[in-house]
């Protein structure tokens, strides 16, 4: 990410604070958030009354991974598969907690992203990217 930690697979650091910061760009964060949503559903008894309740969940790990590793990266592939699995567990759990016949799901994205793999250019900024390219293309005799 940002020219660092570009080898796949990735390892979270041993230090807990650093691992917590690094976990934001992992599928673990979405899993935590979906569990949080289920706990909140239970705590507030949403979906039990006759009236309609709303449970709104915004999952952001995809964005973090897309920014960090690229939209077509292996990390994104891994994340989508994990998100699929986590959402499946979430729906199964929700159906055990509430009447599945009275639940409406809406799935959307807040935005997409253009097809340009940042994995080709690990450096995040264009300035660094060009510097890296120039370093590669620069003849060895040029200081």
């Amino acid at each position: 990410m940002n020219g660092r930690n570009f080898l796949f697979p990735h390892r979270l650091p041993d230090d807990s604070a650093a691992a917590a910061a690094a976990s934001l760009a992992t599928p673990f964060m979405d899993e935590i958030e979906l569990d949080l949503a289920l706990e909140g559903l239970n705590a507030l008894s949403l979906g039990k009354a006759r009236q309609t309740d709303v449970l709104s969940i915004s999952l952001s790990a995809t964005d973090a991974i897309g920014h960090g590793y690229g939209q077509d990266s292996r990390e994104m592939h891994d994340n989508v598969l994990r998100l699929d699995r986590n959402l499946g567990a979430f729906i199964d759990s929700l159906f055990k907690l509430r009447d599945s016949t009275r639940i409406a799901f809406a799935l959307t994205a807040d935005h997409g992203v253009a097809r340009r793999s940042r994995s080709l250019y690990p450096c995040q900024s264009s300035r660094h990217r060009f510097e890296s390219t120039s370093q590669i293309l620069r003849p060895a005799s040029v200081p």
């Binding site: 807990s16 909140g40 986590n86 009447d99 992203v113």
Partner: protein, 254 residues
């Protein structure tokens, strides 16, 4: 600057009684969400609307990884796809792309999570109303359902809403009785407000900090859960041999 393309995908699934019948199948088989929604008989109003917004989720991921998807994305993607719109280049990170395209009018604006993040909320502005408006728009897309019934909740003009976001990198959970959440400052000021927890960072708006101070003990479950889950993730309980994001082995003890 990265060129973001406001590719919006909206899929709506509504569980039906057939889905309930399928619950008698083997437990190993997940219950499928119906792909077709019958309009023959009026559906009862949903007791729960689940809005799932995936940040930067490109629409072609569903097709691209489709053969490998067998979980929630696969089940939800078989629902009714309402909008598949490629909006013009947005000005603001793709989520404030308010186009004049008529097809846009059917798109619930479920994107305010990103467009109006928690730490930018100003006192006096309410986002719960937007959530409820979006929920109503979703309900309007369900055939046979009268979305106006959403507004018939006794004593309240909007449904009860629980929003779960990953704020500034930290999962937080917020809930409010819409009757008492007309403004952020009211939420902070009202002891009866059902604000659960907002483990937000410093540097937020005054209202956000106030909400943080209003964490009620009985609602501290979210913080505990988030902490426990994160701790589990960090200590290896979530270790998965198939993981590409593998955790480092714990340091050896001498």
């Amino acid at each position: 600057m990265i060129r973001f393309v406001g590719t919006i995908l909206l899929v709506i699934c509504f569980s039906t009684r057939a889905d309930c019948q399928s619950a008698t199948r083997s437990a190993s088989q997940p219950r499928e969400l119906p792909s077709a929604i019958s309009t023959a008989s009026p559906l009862p109003p949903p007791s729960l609307i689940v809005l799932i917004t995936i940040d930067q989720f490109r629409d072609d991921y569903l097709d691209r990884f489709g053969p490998q998807l067998h979980g929630g994305l696969a089940r939800l993607s078989r629902g009714r796809r309402l909008v598949h719109e490629r909006a013009p280049r947005p000005r603001d990170h793709g989520n404030r792309a308010r186009t004049r395209d008529t097809s846009r009018r059917t798109l619930p604006s479920l994107d305010r999570h990103h467009g109006e993040p928690h730490w930018r909320r100003r006192p006096g502005r309410s986002t719960v109303g937007r959530w409820c408006r979006d929920a109503r728009r979703v309900a309007e897309e369900i055939p046979g359902h009268d979305a106006r019934r959403l507004a018939t909740r006794e004593g309240s003009a909007v449904p009860r809403t629980l929003c779960v976001e990953e704020g500034i990198g930290q999962p937080f959970c917020q809930s409010a009785d819409p009757k008492r959440m007309s403004t952020g400052t009211q939420v902070a000021a009202s002891r009866r407000a059902d604000t659960i927890v907002t483990p937000c960072r410093t540097g937020s708006t005054d209202s956000t900090r106030a909400e943080c101070r209003r964490i009620s003990p009985e609602k501290a479950w979210t913080l505990m859960l988030a902490g426990l889950r994160l701790q589990r993730a960090l200590t290896g309980d979530l270790r998965d041999e198939r993981s590409q994001f593998s955790l480092s082995p714990p340091p050896s003890r001498r």
